[in-house]
């Protein structure tokens, strides 16, 4: 057979659907904290990777905030070259096991997948998770290249997704990086916010260990702004640059009467007691929690889904979401919404809180809501909820979790008066470099954007790492 006669690869018949990922059944998982999806096995991952048609113009890359070479790593999986797949992945992303689990792929890489025009997109998220987990079990990834030491120090503040990304990238460039964390443990929202059943702590620990293995010195129990100010880091502590990635950790309240009754939690408190402090294992762990049997969660984002599904696992007989817009405007990741539905969460859409009722001892006993209709789009592009006159109603409950968003953490802005802020209290930066109004001080993640996604914080971290490098190189 001559070269000319070699048959062209037959046009692949495209499998229209993603390969499903095995999951714990809803009845089983709703009473435990184990991870819900079990991940792909090798054969399924290779078959799913084979669905990728390797477009010349790979739109998926543009859909990724850190611009991972998606066709590259997917193709390596299809070829069963797992070492190459994880090498490609880790050259872009220090935390693939996290991103594979918590990214909203349906609005990023998978949304712009060419297959998605006719079929389901390639399951990029599941493949990312697969290759990260494969490497964690078999350690196939070659050690990362670390540039020669530069003898310049950088302080990174906040060990969440943005901070871990900046720290990892700068360490690889040869900088001496110290990562300061206010809590006793790393991970930021990945640890205190996202529950075990969605992101097991062992997986987070693994990713943090990887960043540490790049040479990053991680110091917990350091509240920058209090223990040391940003000015002190740049001055007497001798850091050439500082990156601020302190997140949007301040809870936003509903602003209705009765919000301080006992049993009304901010999502941050509810989730932090359980995820970070492991109150679900009380009294083996010391931190107490009070969990209701009839829980209302107000909000429609991922944090609301995490809170309501946690309420079920804490023993609630009834756990409900009350959201002021409709199903289509909910910012939660589609998978989380489906999982919540499967687990029996009750959804009430187009309802806004009016007040919280308490008993004589100060414990919550119910809520009043008002029905909404959707009006014109607001600043976010979503249709604005408009109150319906005379539609108020009350419901009983014994616990409320307020998951209506967060504000930027004020400790650094308050103790760094020279730092220029926006009217929302977020830090103003140059988008391309992450530079703030103070020379040598950079910022990124939720402290800049307000509450957003893990991957957008990591994208900001990548840009800021390049910004810090350019600044210190020129200095």
């Amino acid at each position: 057979m001559t070269a000319d006669e070699k048959p062209k690869p037959a046009k692949k018949k495209i499998i229209p659907h993603k390969h499903p990922m095995a999951e714990q059944s809803p009845a089983e998982r709703v009473r435990n904290y184990k991870e819900v999806p079990r991940g792909y096995d090798v054969a399924t991952a290779v078959a799913e990777a084979g669905r990728c048609i390797q477009c010349d113009n790979a739109t998926c890359i543009g859909g990724c905030p850190v611009e991972i070479d998606i066709p590259g790593f997917v193709n390596a999986i299809a070829r069963e070259d797992f070492t190459e797949a994880i090498r490609v992945m880790k050259s872009y992303n220090n935390l693939p096991a996290v991103c594979g689990r918590v990214c909203p792929q349906e609005t990023q890489c998978e949304q712009v997948c060419v297959l998605a025009k006719k079929f389901e997109p390639v399951a990029v998220g599941r493949l990312e998770r697969f290759i990260a987990d494969y490497d964690a079990e078999r350690h196939v990834c070659p050690p990362p290249e670390i540039a020669a030491a530069k003898n310049k120090k950088v302080a990174v503040v906040g060990a969440g997704p943005a901070g871990l990304t900046v720290a990892g990238d700068l360490a690889r460039m040869g900088y001496g990086v110290t990562l300061f964390e206010a809590f006793h443990a790393t991970g930021g929202v990945l640890r205190y916010g996202i529950p075990e059943f969605r992101l097991p702590k062992a997986i987070l620990d693994r990713e943090v260990e990887y960043v540490r293995s790049l040479g990053v010195d991680i110091q917990c129990n350091m509240v920058i702004g209090k223990t040391y100010t940003v000015k002190e880091l740049l001055g007497e502590l001798g850091f050439g640059a500082v990156f601020i990635g302190t997140g949007a950790g301040l809870p936003r309240w509903m602003g209705v009467p009765g919000e301080n009754f006992i049993g009304v939690y901010s999502a941050n408190e509810w989730l932090t007691r359980i995820n970070l402090m492991r109150a679900y294992e009380f009294p083996e762990y010391d931190t107490p929690i009070w969990a209701g049997k009839n829980a209302i969660v107000v909000g429609g984002g991922n944090t609301a889904m995490d809170s309501v599904r946690t309420a079920l696992r804490m023993g609630a007989a009834r756990a409900s979401i009350y959201y002021r817009r409709s199903e289509v405007e909910m910012p939660a990741r589609v998978e989380e919404y489906h999982h919540a539905r499967q687990e029996g969460v009750v959804f009430r859409f187009l309802v806004a809180p009016v007040r919280v009722f308490g008993d004589d001892n100060g414990w919550v006993k119910g809520m009043e809501f008002q029905e909404m209709t959707l009006g014109e789009p607001d600043d976010s592009g979503r249709r604005r909820p408009v109150p319906k006159e005379g539609s108020n109603f009350t419901v009983d409950c014994d616990m409320v979790v307020v998951a209506v968003g967060t504000y930027p953490n004020p400790i650094i802005p308050e103790t760094t008066p020279e730092l220029e802020l926006t009217k929302w209290g977020t830090i103003k930066i140059d988008e391309a470099t992450g530079a703030t109004s103070i020379p040598g001080v950079f910022a990124g993640g939720d402290i800049v954007t307000g509450g957003a996604t893990v991957i957008s914080a990591m994208g900001a971290g990548k840009r800021a790492a390049r910004g810090v490098d350019a600044y210190l190189t020129a200095k």
């Binding site: 223990t227 301040l250 107490p288 100060g362 953490n409």
Partner: protein, 279 residues
């Protein structure tokens, strides 16, 4: 790695004074601020007011009453032992200026957190009249230290075993009835004592600051466990306090929120004692 206990003594049968190596906190802290500790990997995060500090030695002194599992456990630590986590200084420090004559009321374990504030007020040139009280004589703490930092010191006990038989507020009332004039008041202690002090000083039109000791998780403004209503607005004790205008605090709410984990706290302490007894 942890934070080493350098010295400890039982100042009463119920409370312990402990000096902890924490140079990075000692170099920075000011009167009114607090630390949070976590005893070990399974521990709860507990706030404690900084009772004293030594910048040169790099030490923080805490004084705490054994009330729950964490404080009983902490009290067991001997010199050389390590506390797993120790973070601070947290909260806003108290603005200390020259005010004039200041009545400083310390009730029970509130004497420990009021002590550094009294010292700062004295150093700022104020005439400091301190009134400290406890349930009975052997529970009065820091009497000598308080006397040294005050222009006048009065002691009260609930059972009359020492000083005036009554509450700190009774002593303040006696002084005021006797014609003493005060420009300001600072009251630190259990909620009922601070509430009673504020009730009295409101009638006297005497501006009063209090220092709240609420339940916290992170101590950095993230969770709102420590929220309290002050002048009709929700404030976080950890980042907006712990010092507030006592006349504006919603005491009924503060009281109910403070008690919300009582059953769990009792359960944890019971389990700790059982396991200690068995080992």
């Amino acid at each position: 790695m942890g934070y080493k206990v350098l010295a400890r003594d039982d100042i009463t049968s119920e409370s312990v004074r402990m000096k902890v190596a924490a140079p990075h906190i000692a170099r920075k802290c000011e009167p009114g601020q607090f630390i949070m500790f976590r005893i070990n990997e399974k521990g709860e995060r507990i706030p404690l007011t900084i009772a004293d500090f030594d910048r040169a030695q790099g030490t923080i002194t805490i004084i705490f009453q054994k009330v729950g599992k964490s404080t009983y456990h902490l009290a067991e630590l001997q010199v050389g032992a390590e506390i797993r986590d120790f973070v601070g200084p947290l909260g806003r420090h108290m603005d200390v200026g020259k005010i004039g004559t200041v009545a400083c009321l310390g009730g029970g374990l509130g004497i420990a957190p009021i002590y550094p504030k009294v010292r700062a007020l004295k150093e700022a040139g104020n005439n400091v009249v301190s009134i400290i009280g406890a349930r009975r004589k052997d529970l009065v703490i820091l009497e000598a230290e308080m006397r040294a930092q005050s222009n006048e010191l009065y002691v009260t006990t609930d059972d009359g075993s020492y000083g005036l038989h009554g509450f700190v507020t009774d002593q303040l009332k006696l002084l005021v009835d006797g014609g003493r004039k005060f420009d300001s008041c600072l009251a630190v202690g259990p909620i009922p004592m601070m509430e009673a002090a504020c009730k009295l000083t409101r009638d006297l039109k005497l501006p009063t600051l209090v220092s709240l000791d609420t339940l916290m998780v992170d101590g950095t403004g993230m969770c709102g466990s420590c929220r309290v209503t002050v002048a009709g607005k929700t404030k976080f004790t950890c980042v907006d306090g712990p010092v507030f205008d006592g006349h504006a605090v919603d005491w009924a709410e503060a009281k109910s929120r403070q008690c919300r984990y009582r059953p769990q706290e009792a359960e944890a302490l019971e389990k700790y004692r059982r396991e200690r007894g068995a080992s």
